[in-house]
């Protein structure tokens, strides 16, 4: 009963996040100074010089307004916009006209999803394992060393980590390529290997970036949890250090860490965008950067809606599997 209530609550929250997020992305640009159509036209005029007549400019203005869905009053525009989002129809891309935006995004999505899911899981698992050991044996010297590593890594921004990783492993010791090149054609063994090889540095960046926080937070949680009465009881019962650490301390200390992961998903996505752009990795972040540079607003809008949708959905999935780890919600305690 309590579980059903929890699931329904989360789902309503999810829909609200999507709705508000999509609404904000509609209204915010309209509050900004400047108007994309005027910007675009002045660009075209700058390129075409005086050869553009007033009539041609007006025509261009009208067709752009139609393309961007800027016709009618703001509520009509908003209704049309919502309808298009629901149909996942973002129109054609400007740069790759007449390729639909959804196709371009479908091509880019697996790269970002693959990179992010792998690195977030790895970073969470490795960081929390190290934090757990460091917290459980917090009196040892190496535990302090690990904590210092965490403290130094945690505040460093993604783009700095990406640059340091490039400087170290692509310039100084040229182990990896500066920017990835992928074999075209169908998936073969060689292609899979080249994808892993070329994705190594971006993945390393993302893992390092998430690592610091997980170590620090888990260490603090483990130090606090291992003093709890039920852990002391288990020790007196004669359980091994290993059992207490994994089955007693970790099982409780991981709960806030799952919550922290849900809350930081947006932040992790920001990091993925920076990393992709710096490594020229062909995912959503790179697509957004290219679209922003080319003034391809349809593509940009598609990408941002996809971003909000992905992050919100990932948070929902984590929220929904949370009861598996927390019997208090599952059994209604």
């Amino acid at each position: 009963m309590k579980l059903a209530q929890y699931v329904v609550q989360r789902f309503i929250g999810y829909l609200l996040v999507l709705f508000i997020g999509i609404t904000i992305t509609f209204f915010l640009p309209r509050l900004m100074p400047g108007d994309p159509i005027n910007n675009y036209i002045s660009q075209v005029q700058a390129r075409a010089g005086q050869s553009l007549s007033a009539e041609a400019t007006q025509q261009l203005r009208d067709s752009l307004a139609e393309l961007y869905g800027l016709q009618g009053d703001i509520f009509t525009q908003y209704r049309n916009y919502l309808a298009r989002v629901v149909r996942l129809d973002f129109g054609p891309s400007f740069t790759y006209y007449p390729e639909p935006v959804s196709n371009i995004l479908l091509d880019a999505m697996p790269w970002t999803a693959g990179l992010l899911i792998t690195t977030t899981l790895l970073s969470w698992l490795i960081g929390n394992s190290i934090g757990l050991i460091a917290g459980y044996f917090n009196k040892r010297r190496w535990a302090t060393v690990l904590e210092v590593v965490g403290i130094i890594l945690y505040p460093i921004p993604y783009y700095i980590l990406a640059l340091v990783v490039i400087l170290l492993f692509a310039y100084w010791i040229a182990l990896f390529p500066l920017s990835p090149t992928f074999l075209p054609g169908p998936m073969t063994w060689n292609k899979a290997v080249s994808i892993i090889y070329n994705s190594f540095l971006p993945a390393l960046t993302l893992i390092l970036a998430g690592f610091g926080w997980n170590v620090l937070a888990m260490k603090a949680l483990a130090v606090a949890t291992k003093e709890d009465a039920y852990v002391q009881f288990a020790r007196l019962k004669g359980t091994t250090d290993r059992t207490r650490m994994t089955n007693y301390v970790f099982r409780n200390a991981m709960l806030p860490q799952i919550t922290a992961l849900v809350l930081s998903l947006g932040f992790i996505f920001n990091g993925a965008i920076q990393t992709e752009v710096i490594f020229s990795y062909p995912g959503i972040g790179m697509t957004m950067r290219a679209a922003a540079g080319a003034g391809d607003y349809n593509l940009l809008y598609g990408a941002i809606i996809l971003t909000i949708f992905s992050v919100a959905t990932a948070a929902l999935i984590l929220d929904l599997i949370y009861p598996l780890f927390d019997p208090r919600i599952r059994l209604g305690g």
Binding site: V17, G21, T25, N39, P155, L300
Partner: protein
Amino acid sequence: MSQPTKPRKLRKFNLRLAIGLTIVTILAAGSLILPFFTSVDPAAQGTYLKNLPPSAKHLLGTNALGQDIFWYLVFAVRNSLLLGVTVSIGITAISTFLGLSAGFIGGWYERVVVVFMDTFITIPVLPILIVLGAIVRGNTSFFVVAAILIVFGWAWNARTIRSMALTLREREFINMARFSGAGVMPIIGREIFPYVYAFMVVGFINTILFAINTEAALAVIGLSNVVIPTLGSIIFWALNYNAIMIGQPLWIIAPIVTTVALFLGLFLTSTGYNELFAERRGVA
């Protein structure tokens, strides 16, 4: 007694806080004072010969645009810090107000605030800034970037402050004040604020980190106003002109080292302060 938790004298030396404050003070004081000793606009191109090696005259050499790397960096730290502090003042004010009022007023008001909080925590801010950057086409004024960061950055702090307010609401001394006839505002101001104050300091510093980080990330990928020197724009230009390949590695290494030092300093200051306050709270 207007301030029941007025800090007692420093009981214990906190290493983190000491290191953090030292780094931050050096960087902040240096970047705020040094600009008075130069009349050259560090962002002006072709002021000096290009790609000079480090010397007494140009401590870090000059770059491919004929700018002095050291002076550009000084102005970059200053501008980034000013942006960070401005955004942080805005966010701290908004998040404290919303967090406390949601926690204490409750009801529908709280539910609405919480829904917006969850939304703004979930939505990644960088894509939104990229869209806005594309619309204003690189003419993003610093003011607009700051405003957007405030709009999208308040939720984290507000969430923490609201949960503090929720636990404080049930404490005895709050009930005492309420039964004594104090209104909501005086209770928040006199009884709650001293408790929330310590987190506000920590949140304030963390928000500076968030703001500098996000603007710099936007600048590094070329979508902030890269004409203004910031910790991001300096890296943007260094990457654009392939600083390493043209034999000017300091152009990119200097801002990396500075950024790491600044961020580490701010982070140590905030965690150190938090530790120190936790110790004090223990004896209060």
